[in-house]
């Protein structure tokens, strides 16, 4: 039981990262085995080890820290232990207060001293993960329902292992259909996406009747956030959210994954202000050149004009239009093109940005769809008049996002280097993928002028595919 406490302390020291629980636990099991062996070696060292848990001691390197341990043996042990501690704090993520089942402890104790030095095989790792409780429905307690779509229901839940809140996306499996394509794609893409601005998939529970995806839980989505602050966001926060959105998106695009359903409802925000892309049900990888792509993508309000006109040959710029719409929405508090039909949507777009001509959109005059609509000739209105709160650089970014021609739209990678984000400093650009920008001191949310306290409405979190298509 003493050992258990040690582990708990270790875990509670570690910072939550975006690695999946699976990895961290496998790591944990290995650590456990290693420690067990050392336990037989010298029980007397355990107090020493505890002293190492204080973060300050991490500054001591094993080489010059020789004075810390009286004998060479204990020095070696200390060095070894320190290393594994670093490793733990680096790699362990979620299990803050993990409660391991007693059977597992017994099992781990049984095989400890002999084969502890050997790395775990894949199979035994998976088996131990399953023993811990991963991939099992009973590990998670369902709390309130957060939203429901035609094929999936999202619950707020709690993990019995970590006592952390999770979001459970439960997909009912139709007997004839098997695992739906959207789910297959969402899972396989999210498994590849490990980034501070992309929602983390912790676990998958696949049974005969349902497929449950366990995500990290975030309090709000951007839509709710906007509602909560009375659609009046602080412009500094707009910038921080925009940066995180573009950062997450540039990571996806680097991996050749298109999100294809960007909208405020799919951008989750936690109390720290971290923004994460969610709902990859419509996403697809463009890494394998395939035939047509569906053009029933992207919620109507955020759908780019080329897709509205029926284009199925699209690439990463399809997401950039939506980013522009979201920027406008954050800056003004209202959606930019709230159309209800394709025609109305196009009409709204052309009224604001001007009816496209061959100069603004090459070869548009030969587009049959476009000609069939017969829109009147509108002049482009200056965006400044519509978003007075956005500064000049912000307007510049917005206008390079809302361009008719795909290839002219700014890319996510270029976007995060845009002068609009200069005030955030240089360091945000050099962060590792899995580090949140809020680890930097200079990045802090400011109070939104219209904030009404934390009244969260957990309704209609558009986490399902069918909801998201009009």
């Amino acid at each position: 039981m003493n050992k258990m406490k040690t582990f708990k302390r270790r875990f509670s020291l570690s910072v939550p990262r975006t690695e999946t629980i699976e990895e961290s636990l496998a790591e944990f099991t290995e650590q456990y085995n290693q420690r067990n062996s050392r336990h037989t070696e010298g029980l007397g060292q355990s107090h020493l080890q505890l002293s190492h848990l204080s973060p300050g001691s991490a500054a001591l390197s094993p080489l010059d820290g020789g004075g810390l341990s009286p004998t060479s043996l204990s020095y070696r042990n200390a060095a070894h232990r320190r290393l594994s501690m670093e490793d733990v704090s680096k790699r362990l993520s979620l299990p803050m207060d993990i409660r391991l089942p007693p059977e597992l402890l017994d099992k781990l104790q049984m095989n400890s001293p002999e084969d502890d030095q050997k790395p775990l095989t894949r199979l035994s790792r998976r088996a131990s993960l399953s023993d811990i409780g991963f991939g099992k429905l009973e590990t998670y307690v369902k709390l309130d329902k957060l939203g429901e779509g035609t094929y999936a229901t999202v619950f707020k839940g709690r993990s019995k292992l970590t006592e952390n809140l999770v979001a459970l996306k439960e997909i009912r499996l139709e007997h004839e259909e098997g695992a739906p394509c959207t789910a297959i794609r969402e899972v396989s893409l999210l498994k590849n996406l490990k980034h501070a601005n992309i929602v983390t998939l912790h676990d998958i529970i696949h049974t005969e009747y349902s497929l449950t995806l366990v995500f990290e839980y975030l309090d709000n989505d951007l839509k709710q956030y906007l509602d909560n602050c009375g659609n009046l966001m602080c412009m500094h926060n707009v910038k921080i959210f925009m940066f995180q959105l573009l950062r997450g998106l540039s990571y996806c695009h680097r991996k050749k994954i298109l999100h294809r359903d960007l909208k405020p409802q799919n951008l989750l925000i936690n109390e720290k202000g971290e923004l994460k892309l969610a709902d990859f049900g419509l996403a697809r990888a463009k890494s394998v050149p395939t035939k047509t792509y569906s053009n029933e993508v992207v919620t109507l309000w955020y759908r780019p004009p080329d897709v509205l006109l029926g284009s199925t040959e699209y690439s990463t710029p399809i997401d950039m239009w939506g980013v522009g719409c979201i920027q406008y929405e954050m800056a003004t508090g209202r959606p930019i093109f709230p159309g209800s039909t394709v025609k109305e949507e196009l009409h709204l777009i052309f009224r604001l940005l001007g009816t496209p001509t061959d100069e603004t959109w090459s070869e548009i005059s030969t587009n049959k769809e476009f000609k069939a609509y017969g829109f009147p000739q509108y002049r482009a209105q200056p965006l400044k008049n519509h978003t007075p709160r956005l500064d000049t650089e912000g307007i510049d970014l917005l206008s390079s996002l809302l361009l008719y021609e795909q290839k002219k739209r700014i890319s996510a990678e270029e976007g995060i280097r845009h002068s609009y984000f200069k005030s955030l400093g240089e360091r945000v650009l050099t962060l590792p993928d899995t580090t949140s920008i809020f680890t930097l001191k200079e990045i802090q949310l400011q109070k939104d002028p219209g904030h009404r306290g934390s009244i969260f409405h957990h309704t209609a979190r558009g986490k399902t595919r069918r909801q998201s298509i009009f």
Binding site: G178, C181, R185, L189, E208, I257, K291, S315, S411
Partner: protein
């Protein structure tokens, strides 16, 4: 159902590019070919036939052969062993696109590394069906209406839905849901598949089509084999070319010597004929001499025209038939002896010295076993080369002048032309060939 499925796997119809072309859409990934390009490549190389309207919605026989072979190897379980007939049936019923097939092969490869235990348990027929099903589901993107359900896959594979569902669940678990594929992996598999198809079809047929050879040339191993072959071939060609040139050079050298000899005997006949020839050829000299394109390859046209001219010359001089006969005889002997000498020479040299650009080596080791006259002639030719600095840089063997360029004949009769006439580069000097000239020339060339 078939209709529905065919909608989903609607092969790769060549789309007419109304809107923006694929290049601009793929701008973010410049190394990825657009879909039309890929389908064109697949159509050609995986034997989908040349008709543009032929939909690519099942597996071609060569591809099926290879898939069956690979799957049998990957999943060695003897139960429900995959047969080509079954593979063909499934691919026809489910309208499998070549892209799904390749993706399925990527997954099987991945399983082989990640989870070999799973492959031991599953039968190859099931693996075939389920990997294709998951690959198509992953790729599928045609809107909700056209989704293919597992029961339809079950019907295509003659399995019931429950089995298909369980298989799917196990497969996804075994591969740990990692279905995302990097383009590099995909194209690796495509290249491998193309290579196997080309190899197998070529061997079956007994010869390789143009496309087959193109495909095979892209493969690493074949590329190496081919380049080795090329190297050997070039080496052989170099040796042979050199031998030939040496022979021809010796021939002309001896002819020239004989001319000289006969000229001393019969000046009156010989001198006018040279006078008639040389100015015409002299025109060519400035034009062709500086050309750096003179390389070994162009140096090999046959000496036939020269020989012909030689004959004409002899015909023009009916009075010297005896001389002509003697000339032929000496020519032949010179040829034979020159070849022999050269062969001995070549063998003694390491092969890399035989490369056409290090002919210096050759020219220095040029001991001709021919007659004394021959040797003298050789030296005189060398003088000519030196007279042109550009050529000197290339350091051609003396023989380079002989048969190849338009001035070949000039060289062949160049014996009497004094070096001064040649070295004055772009001027045509009247050439007076007299016996005195010859004597002077001789002393100039061979001062000893």
């Amino acid at each position: 159902m078939k209709h529905r499925m065919s909608g989903i796997f609607r092969g790769f119809p060549p789309r007419d590019e109304d809107g923006p072309g694929p290049e601009c859409n793929f701008q973010s990934f410049p190394f990825l070919p657009g879909h039309p390009q890929l389908s064109e490549r697949v159509r050609k190389r995986l034997y989908y036939g040349l008709e543009g309207d032929c939909p690519m919605e099942n597996l071609t026989s060569p591809v099926a052969d290879i898939a069956v072979e690979l799957l049998q190897k990957a999943a060695p379980s003897p139960i429900r062993r995959l047969q080509k007939q079954y593979a063909a049936h499934v691919s026809r019923e489910a309208c499998i696109s070549p892209c799904s097939m390749m993706l399925a092969l990527v997954y099987i490869e991945r399983l082989r590394h990640k989870n070999p235990d799973y492959l031991q348990q599953i039968s190859s027929s099931d693996l075939f069906l389920i990997s294709l099903m998951v690959a198509s589901k992953y790729l599928y993107d045609e809107g909700e209406e056209e989704e293919v359900f597992n029961d339809e896959w079950g019907a295509a594979g003659r399995l019931d839905v429950n089995t298909v569902n369980t298989l799917e669940m196990n497969f996804l678990h075994a591969i740990d849901w990692s279905l995302y594929t990097h383009p590099r992996e995909f194209f690796e598999v495509l290249r491998w598949l193309e290579g196997r198809v080309a190899e197998q079809q070529g061997l079956k047929r007994g010869w390789f089509t143009y496309t087959d050879s193109c495909v095979l040339l892209e493969q690493g191993l074949w590329q190496k084999v081919f380049s080795d072959f090329c190297q050997q071939f070039t080496r052989l060609a170099c040796i042979l070319g050199l031998m030939y040139l040496t022979g021809v050079a010796t021939l002309f050298a001896s002819v020239a010597v004989l001319h000289k000899a006969s000229g001393e005997i019969n000046k009156t006949v010989l001198v006018p004929s040279i006078k008639a020839q040389s100015p015409g050829h002299g025109i060519f000299i400035p034009l062709t001499m500086p050309s750096p394109a003179l390389s070994e390859e162009i140096l090999s046209p046959p000496a036939a025209p020269c020989a012909l001219e030689e004959e004409e010359l002899t015909e023009k001089r009916p009075g010297v038939t005896a001389t002509a006969l003697y000339l032929w005889g000496s020519m032949l002997t010179a040829l034979v002896s020159g070849d022999k000498g050269l062969l001995a020479d070549e063998e003694s040299l390491p092969p890399d010295r035989l490369c056409p650009f290090c002919s210096k080596q050759r020219s220095t080791t040029w001991p001709q076993p021919g007659s004394r006259h021959n040797h003298t002639q050789h030296c005189s030719n060398k003088q000519y080369v030196r007279a042109f600095p550009g050529l000197d840089h290339y350091s051609f063997p003396d023989t380079t002048f002989c048969p190849s360029s338009p001035n070949a004949c000039m060289v062949s009769h160049s014996g009497p032309i004094p070096p001064g006439a040649m070295s004055g580069p772009l001027e045509l000097k009247p050439i007076s060939c007299t016996a005195a000239d010859f004597a002077r020339l001789k002393t100039f060339i061979v001062p000893g």
